[in-house]
């Protein structure tokens, strides 16, 4: 048995060019499969960690997924806002440690504008409870100050001190500009890999100020309040879109959720971000599962190539198999010899593939992190990946039986004198 294995290895080495190429295709397909699985896992993790430390997200009554979409991901619009009084009531609840009100609806070159308070920079956390940090500048202080996310700054090439104007509504074209009230960039946030990267943050008062001379979603014709006079008005917000709530004690989250859902003055919805994010991932996750399926198929193609190469070599090896038979090899030995080859190549292909992936991850992780905000941590094989690799090796074991069986039949038919 041991000698058969050494024969299999030496025979494979003798055909190292063909088998080497096949080995590489198996290695690459395994690297792709596990790579996709890792990106998928990391994307899901970073998605699930788009917001952390926030115990409840509160908005007007709608579906939990939709509330998460607009409150955290700034996608779509709220159907209803909530009153400022509600906001104050929730903040005053003894269970509540902090609140971050957010007000949405404006945009800047397609990037969402988030009206909020400076509490945002203090209490908003993402990932494993990481706070937002500034790449440069500081939180907004003046009425027309803005803090922009890293993506906004990089994409539009903004620096501290640049003037920007906001547009009414969301989208990129056909929007009315708040051109009379330009903002100054006072801070740029460091990249977090979350929707914060894509947002322009201003104060709630600023949102009020740019809409002073607006009514019903349109500028009042012939009426205009210049920027310098805006601060003379009462800029207390009347409404906000959603509130992120942090509790003093996480254990009271369901109690607080019930309290919000039963709030008498207006219909509200409080969702636990983790639960809603999971629901949301069910929707988004279809795409990445398809990606995994495609890379699974690449592995199947790689294994088919491997089996084809081994089967093709069978004919040239009839002589060799007859010699082995003549010195006493049993048909079962021939079967094992050929089956071992396929398995041996898949096993080494898997190892090389994993080594390749580790090397690639180590090399490109910083670039991916800074360009896509996706954190791909170099790491040891996870149980899920072990499962995938197990399937690959299992399938290859089954597939390797084909050339083994072919050789078995051939050596039975050929006996000691192959008809070539």
């Amino acid at each position: 048995m041991k000698y058969l294995l050494s024969l299999a290895v030496r025979s494979a080495w003798n055909r190292k060019l063909t088998l080497g190429l096949t080995l590489m295709s198996v290695a690459l397909s395994v690297a792709l499969l596990i790579g996709v699985e890792r990106v998928r896992q990391d994307a899901q993790d970073s998605f699930a960690q788009s917001v952390s430390g926030t115990d409840l997200v509160v908005g007007a009554r709608t579906s939990p997924v939709q509330l998460m979409l607009y409150a955290v991901f700034h996608i779509g619009d709220a159907t209803n806002n909530i009153h400022w009084q509600t906001c104050k009531d929730i903040a005053a609840n003894p269970l509540v440690a902090w609140t971050i009100p957010v007000s949405m609806g404006d945009s800047h070159h397609g990037f969402p504008v988030v009206g909020t308070t400076t509490d945002y920079f203090a209490h908003f956390h993402y990932g494993e409870a990481e706070p937002l940090t500034f790449r440069g500048g500081k939180p907004f202080a003046g009425l027309f100050d803005a803090v922009i996310g890293a993506e906004v700054a990089d994409h539009l090439g903004y620096r501290i001190g640049d003037k920007i104007t906001l547009s009414h509504g969301t989208g990129d074209i056909g929007l009315t500009e708040h051109a009379d009230k330009p903002f100054t960039v006072t801070g740029i946030l460091a990249r977090s890999g979350t929707p914060v990267d894509r947002a322009v943050h201003v104060s709630l008062e600023a949102i009020e100020a740019i809409h002073l001379d607006w009514q019903g979603g349109a500028k009042i014709p012939g009426f205009s309040i210049p920027a310098e006079y805006a601060s003379k008005f009462d800029l207390t917000p009347k409404e906000v879109t959603a509130i992120l709530v942090g509790l003093k004690n996480r254990a009271s989250v369901f109690k607080m959720q019930r309290a919000v859902n039963e709030y008498p003055a207006e219909p509200l919805l409080a969702v636990l971000p983790g639960v809603a994010l999971d629901q949301l991932w069910q929707v988004v996750g279809v795409a990445e599962r398809a990606l995994l399926a495609v890379s699974g198929m690449v592995v199947v193609v790689g294994l088919c190539g491997l089996i084809a190469v081994i089967l093709a070599s069978l004919n040239e090896r009839r002589r060799e198999l007859a010699i082995l038979r003549s010195v006493g090899a049993r048909p079962m030995d021939i079967f094992l010899l050929l089956s071992a080859e396929g398995l041996f190549i898949t096993l080494s292909g898997t190892l090389i593939g994993m080594a390749l992936l580790t090397a690639l991850t180590a090399t490109f992780a910083p670039i991916i992190q800074s360009h896509y905000g996706l954190m791909i941590a170099p790491r040891f094989i996870s149980p899920d990946e072990f499962g995938l690799l197990g399937i690959v090796v299992g399938v290859s074991l089954l597939a390797s039986l084909a050339p083994g069986y072919g050789a078995y039949k051939l050596s039975l038919a050929d006996g000691l004198t192959p008809r070539i």
Partner: protein, 237 residues
């Protein structure tokens, strides 16, 4: 009676999907130390006879016994074992495994047979020394032993194959046209070497060839066409 090394009686063989019997031998006996030349032109059933003797084919009727072991009553794997332990084969050409060294090719017989392994080292030498001794006897110069076997000439390859057939002192050596790829001069030289080593090992040599000129130097000559009644029956028909 029982000291026959090879004993074939009333043997008939038919390939699974063939209409006619391909081999029909009434009797073929060989004793220890016999050197038998079997003359067989192509199509006379040579390969079939070799397959039957090697135990990879099973006859339709009749008996084949090697060293008192009745092949027809043995399991395929027991026949494989018997072949490994007691028969050395030399084929027409391409006798060597291309990815093994000269020495490893010779030792291949001992890898599949514990008996031949222990016979090879019985006189107190190592496996390696025994292979070297045989290769020396068969005129394979020591500098050739580290070359890939594919770089050896056909004659050298056949001599290495002979060493593989002889190592571990099998009782039977079967050579199937081992000289057909050699020129006339080398044919004689190879035959002499092979005969000499078989005599030294007291092995029964079965030498199959279509070339009658090689028959001198054997102590028996059998023409397969006249031995094989199936052939005669077909020719008459």
């Amino acid at each position: 009676m029982t000291n026959h090394v090879i004993r074939i009686d009333n043997l008939a063989f038919r390939y699974p999907d063939a209409d006619n019997v391909c081999l029909d031998i009434r009797e073929l006996h060989a004793e220890a130390g016999d050197r038998i030349f079997i003359y067989g032109p192509s199509g006379s059933g040579k390969s079939t006879l070799l397959g039957l003797l090697g135990g990879v084919l099973t006859p339709e009727r009749g008996t084949i016994s090697l060293l008192g072991h009745e092949l027809t009553t043995m399991t395929p794997s027991a026949r494989d074992r018997l072949r490994a332990d007691h028969i050395g084969f030399v084929f027409q050409q391409f006798n060597l495994i291309p990815y093994l060294s000269v020495t490893d090719n010779v030792l291949l017989s001992c890898r599949f047979s514990a008996r031949r392994h222990s016979c090879a080292v019985a006189s107190g030498t190592t496996l390696h020394d025994e292979a070297t001794r045989l290769l020396d006897h068969l005129d394979i110069a020591s500098e050739l032993r580290h070359r890939p076997v594919t770089q050896l000439s056909v004659g050298q390859q056949q001599r290495v194959a002979a060493a593989r057939a002889l190592i571990g002192r099998p009782e039977i050596v079967i050579a199937d046209e081992p000289t057909s790829a050699l020129d006339a001069e080398r044919q004689i030289a190879f035959l002499e070497l092979l005969s000499r080593e078989c005599i030294a090992a007291n092995a029964t040599l079965l030498f199959v060839s279509h070339d009658r000129r090689l028959a001198s130097g054997f102590n028996r000559e059998i023409a397969l066409p006249s031995l094989n009644r199936a052939q005669i029956a077909q020719e008459v028909a």
